[in-house]
């Protein structure tokens, strides 16, 4: 994974250490660091690594959950690459979802967070209300509600008819539009990135603005010179995390299409397909192979983000 060490720690600082006792210090630091890392290391080796390796092994087998796995070599990967139309279909759905939902959700969350960051009356109440949809999580109620909103005689079409005299289709069950209702659901649950942006804005020291104010910098200038640069680590975090989450998105499609990915595979998210293969059709080996393909794809995206981060993410250290 591309990760630039010198953005994390000042190289110069290490170099500037007095030579005497340098070895001891480095050793000390290693010990200290690993003490801090100890819980994570135990968790990683004790709980995470074993199951991950097991799934990697299973991806080279036929495993039907009920009987022992049979080694089949790379057959699962070969089938993914050459003979699986559903792989291509679910990839298309997933990429479209990532490309649409991530930027929109982030822009929305940032916009609202900035609005909240000015001192307005009733801030606490608004913030709580705006977070409400995110509290609902994957509740069964969401599925019912979304149908009430986006069916042919749903609230959305009623509004369109009243306002524009437009008779809309059944958005949620029309294969041309159903994915977009899930994108809207994702944007509607913008609470988490909003909170993270808000925390990021809170961390920007007020005296930087005061200094800028004294220098006579305009608000616009302050935004582009102070707010935006200092917020880049948080923007970067949200972008990376939301992208990973969107690639792995499962619950919205699962609850709204009741696990079918329908109509006509229009909401067949990649992980939903994987889940069908694993638990619906007893092909855990194949599902594991699908999972590792996804890991490679997400890793490429993440690596690219970290590479690009050199050019636009501003760290204070």
């Amino acid at each position: 994974m591309a990760f630039r060490s010198d953005t994390l720690v000042e190289e110069s600082r290490a170099a500037a250490l007095p030579r005497k006792g340098a070895m001891r210090r480095i050793f000390d630091r290693n010990i200290h660091a690993y003490v801090f890392l100890l819980p994570w290391l135990i968790g990683f080796f004790g709980l995470t690594l074993g199951p991950a390796l097991a799934s990697l092994y299973l991806s080279f087998t036929n495993y039907d959950l009920l009987q022992s796995p049979d080694w089949v070599g790379a057959a699962n990967y070969v089938r993914i690459a050459t003979a699986d139309p559903k792989f291509a279909a679910s990839m298309k759905v997933t990429f479209l979802y990532v490309l649409l939902s991530v930027p929109l959700k982030l822009a929305f969350a940032l916009l609202i967070a900035m609005a909240f960051n000015r001192g307005i009356k009733g801030l606490t109440l608004y913030r709580a209300i705006f977070y409400l949809p995110s509290l609902l999580g994957s509740s069964v109620a969401i599925a019912v509600l979304w149908r009430q909103l986006f069916a042919s005689d749903g609230l959305v079409n009623m509004a369109l008819w009243q306002l524009f005299g437009y008779e809309g289709p059944s958005w949620i069950s029309n294969p041309n539009y159903s994915l977009y209702t899930l994108v809207i659901l994702s944007i509607w649950q913008f609470g988490s990135p909003m909170i993270i942006f808000l925390a990021g804005l809170r961390q920007i020291p007020a005296d930087m603005y005061e200094a800028a104010e004294i220098d006579g910098a305009s608000k616009q200038r302050q935004f582009f010179r102070i707010t935006l640069p200092l917020l880049t680590p948080v923007i970067f975090f949200n972008a990376v995390i939301q992208t990973i989450e969107a690639f792995k998105a499962f619950t919205p499609a699962f609850i709204i299409s009741e696990g079918t990915g329908g109509p006509i595979n229009s909401t067949l998210f990649y992980t939903l397909y994987l889940y069908q293969e694993a638990f619906g059709f007893f092909r855990m080996g194949y599902a594991s192979a699908l999972a590792w393909v996804l890991v490679v794809i997400i890793s490429l995206f993440t690596a690219f983000s970290f590479l690009s981060a050199r050019y636009w993410v501003h760290y204070d250290d």
Binding site: V140, L201, T227, V295
Partner: protein, 291 residues
């Protein structure tokens, strides 16, 4: 979005003209309604006769009946109060675990220099990428071997071992925003890394710690797949599992009770959110102060 000022003092906000203020509030209120609609709908759903639930899209029930709340609370063999208690127990312990475990790891990644750091960091991020469903069975077997199945340990202990890389990454990004001069000065004074972590990093990171606490609590509360796999005995069920027991789409279900209990299940998370979001605001006083 021009006056992005960190302070929430009214003196700064007061510079806006009354018209802009009205417009802003109008927009926010309209927007709030869009956000609130589902809740109103769920409340209405919990009060109305069941046969009206799916055929009608009106918000106003034809008649009001609180029976769903009574059936929901007492209808299962175990009262819903027990589920609330179980969920609360798991969510509080998991939240503490996440904040403690992840902040330790994040401090090492953000501030300490050690061999193999980039390697570990990449691996840590890698754990975010594997879809949950394919590690489910190996993980189940692991916990079965440990004798933890049918206890809440598989839902709590991993959090103390910082297995949720999301929070580590989150905290790393924020820790790096804290001015380095502060801990450099502390090092000069002979502070150990543990003191720096405890005395400088944590107090200055209240916003992100509060954020992590809010998310851990809500996500643990909302999680149902983990409890579904690891909790078998209905006495140990969480709220989410209890909720899903009302409805089975292949047979007759008590939807009214489902909506009634769904509404109640939002109360603790909402209160938790209200309480902890204050820490988000208080954070500024400390972080913004010195530089």
């Amino acid at each position: 979005m021009t006056d992005a000022v960190t302070s929430s003092r009214p003196s700064l906000g007061g510079q806006r003209s009354p018209i802009r203020s009205v417009l802003l509030h109008g927009a926010l209120i309209l927007f709030s309604l869009a956000m609130l609609y589902p809740i109103l709908w769920m409340i209405s759903g919990s009060l109305r006769p069941q046969e009206e639930l799916f055929g009608s899209s009106s918000l106003i029930p034809s008649s009001v009946d609180l029976g769903g709340y009574i059936r929901g609370w007492t209808g299962l063999r175990v009262s819903f109060g027990q589920f609330f208690w179980n969920s609360l127990f798991i969510a509080v312990l998991a939240t503490i675990g996440n904040v403690v475990g992840c902040s330790l790891a994040a401090f090492a990644f953000a501030r300490l220099r050690f061999g193999g750091r980039n390697f570990w960091f990449a691996l840590m991020l890698g754990t975010l990428m594997l879809p949950y469903h394919v590690v489910l069975i190996p993980q189940y077997i692991l916990f079965l071997e440990l004798g933890w199945v049918n206890t809440s340990l598989p839902l709590i202990v991993p959090k103390y071992l910082a297995t949720d890389a999301f929070f580590i990454f989150l905290m790393v990004q924020f820790f790096r925003g804290i001015p380095r001069e502060l801990d450099e000065a502390a090092v000069m004074d002979g502070c150990s890394p543990f003191r720096i972590y405890w005395k400088i990093m944590l107090p200055l990171s209240l916003p992100v710690l509060a954020t992590a606490a809010i998310f851990s609590f809500i996500w643990t509360w909302d999680d149902f797949f983990g409890p579904l796999i690891y909790l078998n005995d209905i006495n140990t069920y969480t709220v989410q599992l209890g909720l899903r027991s009302f409805v089975d789409s292949t047979g007759s279900s008590d939807w009214t009770a489902l909506f009634a209990m769904s509404n109640l299940s939002l109360v603790p998370v909402f209160l938790f959110f209200l309480f902890f979001q204050r820490l988000l605001i208080e954070g500024i006083a400390t972080t913004g102060m010195k530089r």
